[in-house]
């Protein structure tokens, strides 16, 4: 868990105790309030309150899985959210790949692209997890 350095809050550094970090420790992701609050997750790591999702939460969830999100990742997460909004179902890997192919890149293989970004096994599960979507029910 990341903790904002004390002077950002205008409170004495000692009050944060041993969790206080120095400026040098803070990583690249923007220091926003949500980054110091652990979002509630289900046992599989999906957000319990899906309405909480924002890009900062996505970065935080990705950190738990040791992924550094780039703009390319974020583009996919937003597409997955668009898919879910349009069809009211969380995308499984193959339909998500098709959807990406239609909306992003007709020329490259979207499923390989997905696997490169989000890992080999069931990338759609991880995409849905990081995009704040329900677990895809029909994804193997």
């Amino acid at each position: 868990m990341k903790v904002l350095h004390a002077y950002a809050w205008n409170i004495p550094k000692w009050s944060l105790g041993f969790k206080a970090m120095t400026k040098a420790d803070s990583t690249s992701s923007p220091p926003v309030l949500s980054s110091i609050i652990e979002p509630h997750l289900d046992p599989e790591g999906y957000l319990l309150d899906l309405s909480l999702w924002n890009e900062a939460i996505a970065h935080q969830l990705a950190q738990r899985e040791n992924i550094q999100l780039t703009s390319k990742h974020m583009q996919i997460l937003h597409l997955a959210r668009k898919f879910q909004q349009a069809y009211e179902v969380s995308p499984a890997t193959r339909p998500l790949a098709k959807y990406i192919q239609i909306h992003l890149s007709p020329e490259v293989s979207a499923s390989i692209y997905l696997m490169q970004l989000f890992g080999g096994e069931a990338p759609a599960k991880r995409v849905c997890r990081l995009a704040g979507l329900p677990k895809p029910t029909n994804c193997l």
Binding site: F83, A86, Y87, E88, V89, P91, A92, R94, P95, K98, Y99, T137, N138, C139, L140
Partner: protein, 118 residues
């Protein structure tokens, strides 16, 4: 494999359950055809009825049905008589469909080895 939808979108959970079967089948590399009979044709309309109590559009099967081509399910048959009886035009439907006459429907069901309906 043929899945037969016979129920209106908000008539219980049957439409949703059969749609789930379609999605599961697709995950196992099966591409079932879908046949819409009777009130089932209402599933192919995109307009949703606003729930005046909650102010929300209830979750139906209509939106998810339009995702089926992304799951490689793209054979949709519709009972032409059912469409006529409800004064619906084929181009008002949310998916490209093949219209079948009663005789053709009987033939289709006879020729299919797995038929599921709820």
């Amino acid at each position: 494999m043929l899945l037969i939808q016979r129920h209106a979108p908000y008539q219980g959970q049957k439409a949703k359950s059969l749609l789930d079967i379609a999605l599961v089948a697709a995950a196992f590399e099966h591409q079932p055809a879908m046949l819409f009979l009777g009130d089932g044709v209402y599933q192919l309309l995109t307009s949703k009825k606003l729930d005046t109590l909650s102010g929300f559009y209830p979750k139906g099967v209509q939106s998810t049905l339009t995702a089926l081509p992304l799951y490689d399910i793209d054979t949709f048959y519709v009972d032409a008589e059912a469409l006529n009886a409800r004064q619906l035009a084929p181009d008002a439907l949310s998916l490209p469909v093949t219209l079948l006459e009663p005789q053709q429907i009987r033939q289709l069901v006879r020729d299919t080895s797995w038929v599921i309906t709820l």
